[in-house]
Point group: C2
Chain length 345, copies 2
DNA sequence: TTATAAAATGTAACCGATTGCATAAGTTTT
DNA sequence: AAAACTTATGCAATCGGTTACATTTTATAA
């Protein structure tokens, strides 16, 4: 364990004060250019490394942003992450990633932990089972900025970056109707999560506008696991009359479901047309390829991070922005495309 | 921005010294039990939060472990992560996750950053393009422990946790031979990475043992992208005579490849039997289901983290352990199972 | 050449928890 | 009742960088 080099060591060697070294290391303009050069060279020579603890302690800033994710295992979330990283890195912030694994308890402990770590700001996506935002109070009270993305509480005053889930739900349902579906199952998750609630509303309204009566029995609320997707498929198989359309609010679940339906002799999209959600890699690899809603993860990540960074730098204020909506669109593939499109001659 | 509560505030209120508060907050046995209780209650009452910066500065320990990943987007890696988290959390360590996105430059900057953040230890998996371990020198020189998992440099002295890639390569190839394959393509990546090099060696030896001549043209080295998997499929289609076996060292690539082959009328497994690697979720969802090698991610994560934590606590020394091999096994599914197995009567 | 402003550097007080050593009070031993 | 421990708490230095303010040096204006 070699001794650590500090600014005092550099100061001694160059016969300067620690203050000058501190400023010089940051290439401050108040320090003579030549001096700055000598300081940087000496620092390099001695193997100096900046002490974040001392710096953060004094500045009362960690220069770190916390990122709280509900999961890490989807294309979508890793795209968001890369967007966040790009922006925060450019702005010189470090990030600490915490993921809740969809568990409310873990989310609470992560939030508390990030709070104790004194992150300067927080980017968060709520877990599947989160019921309220009480655990974020710590942040709100101390005015530490928090921005939610994707999974947010739309009723709270907090700033959030989302897609128009209502419109997506509407568009997907409308698309299935156009493909001739009359009995469309919605396989979704906890309606307390804004993303699922809004998609559900879109589904309901699209059916209404198409003159198709809403049938509560066709809405299935399941968790995100593989087993529940298999179970859902079996329920669908037992329904009489058999549904002819299926809108699953998650690609993985849609894929599992489709597989199970196919195994039981259901033809996709002829018997049942299916649309997923998220445009995960999997959607292009299964057969038939899955129609889905493209989620602009990277954009969401960049927008979210940029807002937070600007706020931290004082060039903007997230408190004045409540909601930012990012574009998303329906990708139609084999799992739902039934009719040949005839262009008018 | 409310003022932060410190141990001095608590000390003043309770008419005790800061030293006693500091000890009391950790429920030290040298402090009277009643006093500890009063301290903890007062801390709670005032909304005290521990200052990691001051503590780390003084203790010269961050109580944080750096985790350097090559990517985040696979089942395997997220399992590893959950294993690491489980163990480190139990031991009271925080983790900082950095991922290189398979880029050597990013890896270097991440390693440097984690070094400056003064992590107490590092868990790492090398990026696809990493050529040497020079950037870890900082850690080695200061005796900060580093453990590699999965992607490691097996020739260096560093401690690493891996699976027996040689055996896996051998077993997969042997399995394909048993299925009647005579011309087996190996679609793999950069042989400088130990994982790919070892699998390649296993492939070569299994062919040799089966009396099948090694044909260099059947070994295709490609990067990890989707495009290169498609390109590989096309090369295979052009080969004469057509290969009858395909071993892809990555499930995603195997899936893309299989899709492209099927599109071109190749029957799986009759014309070409395919085996992937990693047992990603995707392997069970495509058709036919993909035979693959199960990678015990969570186990690897736990073992790696446990070794590091024990080392940090002084209850073990990673310097004495060079290599830990975790069990893995072949999962045979539809993509490679050709012959009906006839049990002897 | 002196007055004045600008540039460069220094002084010293923080930031908040930790811990070796000292002290004080209480208990047991002789 | 004095000596020898135990137990509980306090003192004060330390970790290393930052920054308001002061001081010195240098450049420019009068």
């Amino acid at each position: 364990m070699t001794k650590e080099i500090t600014i005092y060591d550099i100061a001694r060697e160059l016969k300067l004060s620690p203050a000058t070294i501190s400023r010089g290391l940051k290439s401050s303009k108040v320090i003579n250019k030549g001096t700055v050069k000598r300081i940087l060279e000496k620092a390099e020579e001695l193997g100096y490394r900046h002490n974040n603890f001392a710096s953060s302690l004094r500045k009362q800033k960690s220069h770190t942003i916390g990122v709280l994710l509900h999961e890490l295992n989807s294309n979508f979330i890793t795209s968001v992450l890369s967007g966040i990283e790009k922006i925060t890195a450019e702005a010189g912030y470090d990030i600490i990633i915490a993921h809740s694994g969809e568990s409310y308890e873990k989310e609470v402990s992560n939030v508390t932990n990030l709070f104790h770590k004194r992150v300067d700001g927080l980017i968060a996506s709520l877990s599947f089972t989160t019921e309220n935002l009480d655990h974020f109070k710590l942040f709100f009270e101390k005015n530490i900025p928090v921005i939610f993305f994707d999974r947010a509480d739309e009723n709270s005053d907090s700033t959030h970056v989302i897609i128009d889930n209502y419109k997506c739900g509407y568009t997907v349902t409308q698309h299935l109707v156009e493909q001739g579906c009359k009995r469309i199952v919605l396989l979704t998750s906890n309606l307390k999560r804004n993303v699922y609630a809004q998609r559900h509303r879109g589904y309901v309204d699209a059916l209404f506008d198409a003159g198709i009566p809403y049938n509560k029995k066709l809405v299935m609320i399941k968790d995100l696991g593989e087993e529940s997707a298999v179970a859902a498929a079996h329920e669908i198989l037992k329904m009489k009359p058999r549904p002819d359309g299926l809108f699953v609010t998650n690609d993985f679940k849609a894929a599992v479901c489709m597989q199970e339906l196919k195994r039981n002799g259901v033809k996709i999209p002829e018997d049942i047309a299916i649309v997923g959600f998220n445009n995960d890699a999997i959607s292009k690899l299964i057969e038939p390829q899955l129609s889905t809603v493209n989620y602009p993860g990277k954009d969401m990540g960049e927008i979210t991070a940029r807002n937070l960074v600007n706020h931290l730098k004082g060039e903007g204020n997230i408190a004045t922005t409540r909601r930012i909506i990012v574009k998303s669109d329906l990708i139609i593939r084999g799992s739902s495309l039934r009719k040949k499109v005839h262009l008018p001659l």
